[in-house]
Symmetry: C2
Subunit: 305 residues, 2 copies
C-alpha cells in the first residue's frame, strides 16, 4: 500500500451561497483532499496545523476514514485558520468576507519520519514556501508530486511559486489562474507555457465545464459530472485533486492513460462535494456511490462513432 502525504489547511469555514448559510463548519484544502484520497487503497496522512479550538470530533472524523492525522500539529494556545466567504449566483465568483490566518501564520510543517519516504505527495493550496519546506524534508524522491495553488500566491509570491512549480510533476490549476500565471489568453498557450516551468503534466480545471490535461505532447478534455443542484462549491477543486491523486496511487505508472482516468475519478468525486455544504457529503460518501456515478459518467460521455 503506497503512502500519500498531503499538506494543506485544516480549517473552519463559514459559507454563504444562494442555497443558504453553513454556519461555522469543517473545511480546508487538506481536509477535502484527504477525504477524497481516503477512498483509495493507500495510506493517507495530512500535515497541517490547527488551534486549541479545533474540535476533537473533527480529527476523529478523519481518523475514522483511515486518514493518519498524527502530522497535524495542535497549537493549543492558538486558533484554527478561519475563512468566511459568500458565493455569487455565478458560482465562479466569490467574495471573501473574513480571513483569519491564526495558527497558519507561523505554520512550519514537520514531516514525521515515517512519511519521509511517501510515494505520492499532494501539496494543497498554501504558501509556496510552506509547500517547499515539505519537499525539503523528504528523504527519498516521491514517485510524483501534485501541486495545487491559487491566484493569491501569483499576486504575492510569484517567484517562490515558480520555484515550487519547477519541483513538481503535476500542477492542478483553475482556468483563470492558468491564464494569469502564464500571461496567455488561451488555455492551450497557457498550458504550454506552464509546462516549460517544469512540471510534466498540467491539469486545468474549468469548474462546471470540466477539465483538461496537457503533457507528453498529448491532450485530454472532459466535461464535469452533471450535478442537478449545486449547494456549495467550496472544496470541489481540492476534492478533484484528492480523487485524482488517490486513483493514481493505485496505479503502477504515471502514464497519460492513467492520468486521464485519474481526471475522471477526480471529476466524479468533486460532483459529490458540491451537493452539500462543506464536507458533509464527503463525510458519508461510500465507494459504491463513486463507482455508480463513474458508470453513469461513462454512459453520459461515450459515443460510438
Amino acid at each position: 500500500m503506497k503512502k500519500i502525504l498531503i499538506v494543506g489547511t485544516v480549517a473552519y469555514d463559514d459559507i454563504e451561497t444562494n442555497k443558504g448559510n453553513s454556519g461555522k463548519i469543517l473545511g480546508g484544502a487538506g481536509t477535502y483532499i484527504a477525504l477524497a484520497c481516503s477512498h483509495f487503497n493507500s495510506k493517507t496522512s495530512v500535515v497541517s496545523v490547527v488551534g486549541g479550538d479545533f474540535d476533537k470530533k473533527h480529527l476523529e472524523l478523519l481518523e475514522n476514514k483511515g486518514i493518519d492525522t498524527s502530522p497535524i500539529e495542535i497549537v493549543s494556545e492558538g486558533k484554527t485558520f478561519y475563512w468566511k466567504g459568500k458565493y455569487h449566483k455565478d458560482w465562479n465568483k466569490r467574495d471573501t468576507l473574513a480571513t483569519e490566518l491564526n495558527v497558519l501564520a507561523d505554520f512550519n510543517p514537520i514531516v514525521p519520519k515515517e512519511f519521509k519516504e511517501s510515494k505520492i505527495v499532494v501539496l494543497g493550496n498554501l504558501h509556496p514556501i510552506v509547500q517547499g519546506a515539505v519537499l525539503d524534508q523528504l528523504s527519498k524522491t516521491p514517485e510524483y508530486i501534485i501541486l495545487d495553488t491559487m491566484n493569491f500566491w501569483m499576486d504575492t509570491a510569484l517567484l517562490e511559486l515558480q520555484k515550487i512549480i519547477a519541483r513538481v510533476d503535476i500542477i492542478v490549476i483553475n482556468d483563470d489562474e492558468a491564464m494569469q500565471l502564464s500571461g496567455k489568453e488561451s488555455l492551450f498557450a497557457a498550458a504550454e507555457k506552464i509546462l516549460k516551468l517544469g512540471p510534466k503534466y498540467v491539469v486545468i480545471k474549468k469548474g462546471e465545464h470540466g477539465s483538461m490535461l496537457f503533457g507528453d505532447g498529448q491532450f485530454f478534455v472532459t466535461p464535469a459530472y452533471p450535478v442537478k443542484e449545486v449547494i456549495d462549491p467550496t472544496g470541489a477543486g481540492d476534492t478533484f485533486a484528492g480523487g485524482f491523486g488517490g486513483y493514481l496511487s493505485e496505479q503502477d505508472e504515471l502514464s497519460f492513460e492513467n492520468l486521464k482516468n485519474a481526471i475522471i475519478f477526480g471529476t466524479v468525486m468533486a460532483s459529490f462535494c458540491v451537493e452539500s455544504f462543506g464536507t458533509s457529503s464527503m463525510e458519508t460518501l461510500k465507494k459504491e456511490e463513486v463507482l455508480d456515478r463513474l458508470r453513469n459518467f461513462k454512459k453520459f460521455t461515450t459515443y460510438s462513432l
Copy 2:
C-alpha cells in the same frame, strides 16, 4: 439520397473581433447550415431571400458545393439582409452595431414542389411565423424537424415561438437561451421544461464549453473541439446544427445513439467555422479534414476506465 430542406437567412455580415475586421462578407444562418450539410450524402436545398445586390458568385459558391439554391428568392429591387457586429474579448458577448432587415422584412418563404416531401427540415434562426410557414407548406410529415432559435424571439414573439417548438422533433439552443426560455436556473431543469413544450430532444450549446443532449430519459455531454485560435465565432452554432442535421440525414433512425454521434459531427464542423472570418474556412473545407479532426476528437475525449 434524402432531401434536406433548410430555411434560414442568406445575408451579408460585417464582423469585428479582437483578431481583426472582416469587411462585408457572406453570412446568414441558412448559408452556414447549408455549407455544413453539404458534406453529407444528402440533397441540400435552402429556402431564403436576398436582394438585387446579392453577388452571383455567392450563389455559385453554394451551388458548387451541391447545394440547391433555387428556393432562394431574389428581390431585385431590394437589398440583402445586413448585420454588423462586434465581439467582446469574451466570445460569448457581442454588440450589434447595425441590423438592416431589408428584404427579410417581408420574407414570405415558398417551398418549391420538389421539396415539399423533404425527409429532414432544418429551421434556421428566423421569426417563428416564417419557420411555421415553411412547415405549413410540406405535403408529408418529415422524418424529423430541427429548430434553431434565439433570445430575440423569446423577447418579441414568445407565443409564436412556443407554437413552433411544439411542432419540431429537436430544438438546438444556447445555454443562456435555454434558461431564458424555461425560466430555470440550471440547464437540467431548463431542458426538462423545454421537453414539455413538445420536442423529443433538446440540444443545449455551451459555446467553447461543448454541448448537451437531453431526451428519451437519457443524457449526453461533450466538450467542444479544442481550437487553438478563435478568429470569429459567427455561424458556429449554425454550422453545428448543419453538421448535426447532415450526419442524421445519413442514418436510418432517430435514436439517442445516432443523436450523440450527430452532436460529435456538429462539434467538429463548428471547430472549423470559428478558425476564420465568416464562411471562409467552410468554403474550402474537405471531408477528409473533418474525418481527421473526428479521429483527434475521439483521442482527446476517450478514456479506458
